[in-house]
Amino acid sequence: MTTIINAPAVTDPQELTRPRRPGRRAKPKFTVGRTLAWVALGGVMLITLIPFYWMLRTSFSTSTSLGSDPGSLLPVDFTFGAYERVLGLATPAEALAEGGSGASINFWAYLRNSLIVATVTTIGQVLFCSMAAYAFARLQWRGRDLVFSTFIAALMVPPIFTTIPNFVTIRELGLLNTYAGIILPTLLMTPFAIFFLRQFFLGISREVEEAAIIDGAGPLRRFFQVILPLGSAPIATLAILTYITSWNEYFWPQLVGREEEVRVLTVALGVFRSQTPQGGPDWAGLMAATLIAALPILIMFVFLGRRVINSIGYSGVK
């Protein structure tokens, strides 16, 4: 089974960074149909954005006052209290007064944990997968096709099936509630990463590498001096995608990293939600926390958006 959509069509690794060509069509005329279409697209964008605004609006409200005016478009009883609470700057008494649970929140520790897990996972996965992808795309060796198709077949296996035995492995290695336990299963490879990079490496012109061969460069030097520089665009794209995926991961970290000292942000949010008082939940605190947890990815998107958006057409794999 293949999950490629149009990846084979990409033969130029620079494609991802190339600026989009200016529209060739003349500016279309104004028609009722076009206006309606724009209204529809505008509606879609609005539905997309409203929850983000609602997070923002709620996070600046006072939880105890939210109930009195739940429909207000602006923050109710404007305050930074929720952020102070989430960042651990408020005293338990202040937190309770504004509707928090009063339990201490170790936000900076969770942020640090998320950073460590996502960064190490990304560096390891991208490095090892680009090495493997190079061997699959450019080197001659017996068993190559067999090994590659075995890797790709793993894309078919539902994660929950391997999760149970992986949990047993991590537990037997004594790695529950350690960074290593959270990171190890995705540190060395994911089938998707190898598949993604191989597509691009296949497209790099053979002549460049041949010139290096004639110069007497071995595979190691060719990888570092030819392939890595030429493949830097797709590698960067993969790194971003990996970082986002790893940052957002919830299932595995909540299985093997529930303890405070290794708890990542997504898991902390789940815990925060279950701790929040049942009668009058600390919505402001919860929304402030979700927003802060989403912020790093949103900032990354502002700077690297084009690369992320363009990567989609070339992968077609989730």
Binding site: T48, I160, E207, I213, N248, Y250, F301
Partner: protein
């Protein structure tokens, strides 16, 4: 003089051997290359064996055992599978999951197709594409929490609006018949833009002159959508469907932070049931058997889907 040779090389880079200079040298080069290749693949291979191949095999073995994690797995043959056939909660989980997948995929595919076509006919704007993609970037947990708040019975803006127009408030997460559609909606919100961009990429591959010819023949937008866009998009749509269906069968995060299977098992989807069985009740054997059943189900599903949609054949030629 060398031009034709290099073109041919570029066309099939994977199958080209290193350029031979002398027989002896070629042999040496090949050997060196093979050794290097294995070294390059080694870390990924270790990762694959340790966290994909080995767990797949031991998962298969666990499914034939009684295993509570504390004592060694005890082989019990087909007992887990017999239990599975007679477990109303398993069938309930399958039913719940199917209902979820049906709503989720139906809504998501139609909306994504609509958005993709709108974008293709209206704008190439990166800003529009970026906004549409935004929900996909945030964690499932965050999407779930925001909507959990917006759908809240008492304090949620959705119920405020419903109340405002004179209808009865809805307990979106608290009523059995609403819980699954609500969860499906949240995931449609998170994924529709991403799916739209996948389809959009497919749309970009349709040559512009087909539309120009259609416009000259006086075809309306609707007509062009039916006779040009849809047929030419079929292979892409088929791929998107396979990927999104298998993906949505595995919903977990949203359920875990919102309903946790309730009310009365109405959102106990298969992944949540397996998780609950293995990690809350420490029944790893039964959990593995259900996970294997899910695997087989997905494989059959994918195969049938690919067959039905003839995904491998393109009308673009």
């Amino acid at each position: 003089m060398t031009a034709p040779a290099t073109t041919r090389r570029a066309a099939s880079p994977a199958r080209m051997p290193a350029p031979p200079r002398s027989k002896k040298n070629l042999f040496g080069l090949k050997r060196r290359e093979a050794i290097a290749a294995w070294l390059f693949v080694a870390p990924a291979l270790i990762g694959f064996i340790a966290f994909y191949l080995w767990p797949a095999l031991s998962g298969l073995y666990y499914s034939f055992t009684d295993f509570d994690l504390l004592t060694a797995p005890e082989f019990i043959g087909l007992e887990n599978y017999k239990r599975l056939l007679n477990d109303p909660l398993f069938w309930n989980a399958l039913g719940t999951t199917s209902w979820y997948v049906l709503i989720n995929i139906g809504l998501q595919t139609v909306l994504a197709l609509g958005i993709a076509v709108l974008m293709q006919r209206l704008t190439q704007s990166m800003v529009v594409r970026g906004v549409v993609m935004l929900p996909y970037l945030i964690a499932n947990v965050i999407a779930a929490l925001v909507w959990f708040y917006m759908f809240d019975f008492q304090f949620g803006i959705v119920n405020e609006i419903i109340d405002g127009i004179g209808l009865d408030r809805v307990a979106f997460f608290g009523e059995s018949e609403w819980a699954i559609p609500t969860v499906a909606f949240i995931n449609v919100w998170r994924h529709m833009g991403y799916t739209a961009l996948l389809i959009f990429a497919g749309l970009q591959a349709i040559p512009k002159d087909v539309y120009e010819a259609g416009a000259i023949d006086g075809g309306s937008e609707l007509r062009m959508f039916r006779s040009i866009t849809l047929p030419l998009l079929r292979p892409v749509l088929a791929m998107v469907l396979v990927v999104t269906v298998t993906g949505s069968f595995q919903i977990f995060d949203t359920i875990a932070v919102t309903t946790q299977g309730g009310p009365v098992n109405s959102t106990r989807v298969i992944n949540y049931y397996i998780f609950d069985m293995a990690f809350n009740r420490f029944d790893f054997g039964y959990g593995s058997a259900m996970a294997l059943a899910l695997f087989v189900l997905l494989a059959v599903f994918t195969f049938v889907q690919l067959r039905l949609t003839r995904a491998n054949k393109s009308d673009l030629g």
